[in-house]
């Protein structure tokens, strides 16, 4: 195994990790506010198709700026679709598990509907952030050779970790998730805060989805997120609702998802390729069992997770 092969593998890991890291970071904020949004897969697909469509249609006029507009549109589309979920669970107090699932099914359908006309097209992708002599360096490209979204995802994890643990607003958001009734009685607008958290989660899921259709493969295919939205959900639980462990966990799952691609090349071909394709999902289930055995202080679910709160009753 050469160093070049190793660098190749690392670059792939970072690539496949970025979308689940983005989606999971958004979901972390949503769950910290006490809401469980299972619709990540749907929001990611809506983001993926929107980002692609906007980039494709503005490409001829905007050139290099088109992917940026595409990503912003993907974020807005993700947030907009999450509002559908928010109205139902927050204002109408509907069941969060079922509503999140409805959002996932809706997103799969809507994205195929919008994307039907874009199958087989290709969009220009982002340039790398750093200059070519760094980004193209055979060794240093492992640090500098990525699209802007990779660095954005890392930035968001640190920003969310700082926001939740070091700011007053983050403290209020956590209070809403731990005890909605107390937060309400001292005057915090519980549902307004949850609306904002859900919108933020939707935006990051949308951008995470756009990473599939604009960076990994710059084209649209039906259900191209292939269940990664569910992995992102497992990742949040796996992280124990902490940003630091979320980052580490995301790369752990990234390695597992890369195994499928590299299994043959690295001599693991004695097991069928389907085993490696199933590996991230098997690992997610095992990981969820393992963390419940080794319960670490402060890594419990927010106390109000999944509970509806209807203040005007």
């Amino acid at each position: 195994m050469t160093i070049g092969f190793f660098i190749d593998a690392l670059v792939t890991v970072v690539g496949v990790t970025t979308p689940i890291l983005l989606a999971a970071t958004g979901e972390l904020v949503v769950e910290k506010s006490g809401v469980l949004n299972l619709g990540l897969e749907g929001m990611m697909l809506i983001g993926a198709v929107t980002g692609f469509a906007v980039t494709f249609n503005t490409g001829p006029d905007l050139g290099d700026w088109a992917p940026w507009l595409g990503v912003i549109a993907a974020g807005i589309a993700g947030a907009a679709s999450s509002m559908l979920f928010a109205v139902l669970v927050l204002t109408l107090g509907s069941n969060q598990v079922a509503t999140g699932l409805a959002l996932a099914i809706f997103g799969i359908g809507l994205s195929s509907l919008i994307g039907a006309g874009y199958v087989g097209m290709i969009v220009p992708s982002f340039d790398t952030v750093f200059p070519d002599w760094l980004a193209g360096d055979p060794l240093w490209r492992v640090v500098f050779g990525y699209s802007p979204l990779v660095y954005f995802a890392l930035l968001m994890v640190f920003a969310v970790g700082w926001f939740l643990n070091r700011t007053r607003a983050g403290l209020i958001l956590r209070a809403v998730g731990e005890n909605d009734l107390s937060a309400h009685s001292i005057g915090y607008p519980v549902n307004a805060i949850r609306y904002a958290a859900i919108a933020f989660g939707g935006a990051l899921a949308g951008i995470g989805g756009a990473y599939f259709s604009m960076v990994i493969t710059p084209m649209w295919a039906e259900q191209m997120t292939a269940g990664r939205g569910w992995i992102a959900l497992a990742l949040v639980v796996f992280s124990g609702w902490r940003a630091g462990r979320l980052l580490a966990g995301a790369y752990f799952f990234g390695v597992l998802m890369t195994l499928e691609l590299y299994a043959k090349a690295s001599g693991f071909s004695f097991l069928p390729s389907q085993f490696w394709a199933a590996m991230p999902y098997i690992a997610a289930v095992v990981a969820l069992a393992v963390i419940s055995v080794r319960e670490v202080a402060g890594s419990e679910a927010p106390a109000c997770l999944g509970r509806p709160f209807l203040p005007n009753t």
Partner: protein, 364 residues
Amino acid sequence: MHIRLEKRLTPSRFMQIATPIASVLLTMALGAIIFQLIGFDGPRAIYETFITPVVASYKWQDVMTKAAPLIIIALGLSLGNQAKIWNIGAEGQYIIGALAGAGVAFALPDARGFWVILLMIAAGIVGGMAWAAIPAFLKTRYRVSEVLSTLMLVYVALQVLNYLVSGPWKDPNGHNFPQTPPFTPAQLLPHAIGGTDIPPGLVVAIVLTLVFWVLTTRSVYGFSVRTVGAAPNAARYGGFDASRTVWSTLMISGGMAGLAGILEASSQLGQINLGFPSGYGFTAIIVSFLGRLHPIGVFLAGLILAVTYVGGQVAQTVVHVPSATAGIFQAMMLFFILASDILVRYRVRILRDAPRTAPAEAVA
């Protein structure tokens, strides 16, 4: 003026029946508008999706064939949902059930007699139960959320299927297509029961609907499941064991999904191929909620969702809407039914604000 919600002492029976009907009608109305806006013949698309399969008798067999697995799976899911145990991986249990049944078939290639198909069906049920046993074990032993574990196992089941049909069970005479050999006549159920249009799965669905109706409304077990869902503390006080409820509901829903899988494989397809997972396990979740978790409601909702499947294909060929259309209508129905849930549990009061005279003076 403002709106106030008053909690009902008991859920409104009228709303429980009226809201699913309203959800379907609203989906048709909104669907027509949306498809008109994005450039299709909206009313026509709705007519072909929702009405054509009902009025055109040559579509009935197709509707009943699609309704059978939806109803069978959704009956099981509804039981768990009443206990707030969310099995959203029925699709995986459906796949493993079919594979287990097929495994029996391939192990007994020369066997004759009706017992072969019965053994395959039994294996299908056991296969679905075994796949659902993993989340049940993880939930009761390690408190792993069944929402995530059941879902993850769908993707694992898909890879198991992929492996078997393109590896060990691949049809040697299949021109290299990823599919199993066809079942022998002894391993097959008829498409439809002698001389009628009724598929065998629908007969099973009708019988099971009645069984589940007795189970949920007339048995202590049904009461214990509802109590665990509605009032876990009261259930514990009353001696209803929560982990037994987790196990039993997951076993029943997993077994039902497995049964649906092997019935589909042995009566409709006659083999298993990569296209076998068709999303029935996910759509059954919509059926369960649209049927308000009640067996009779689930039966009717299964027929309605089957109509949208069949009608979606009609609309695709007649109005040229994309294949995703039926899925969007199905999700819209689920959104509406969940949104209207509040009307079942709460009374909505619209109050006029009292004129702002100072109440303190009146007291003084």
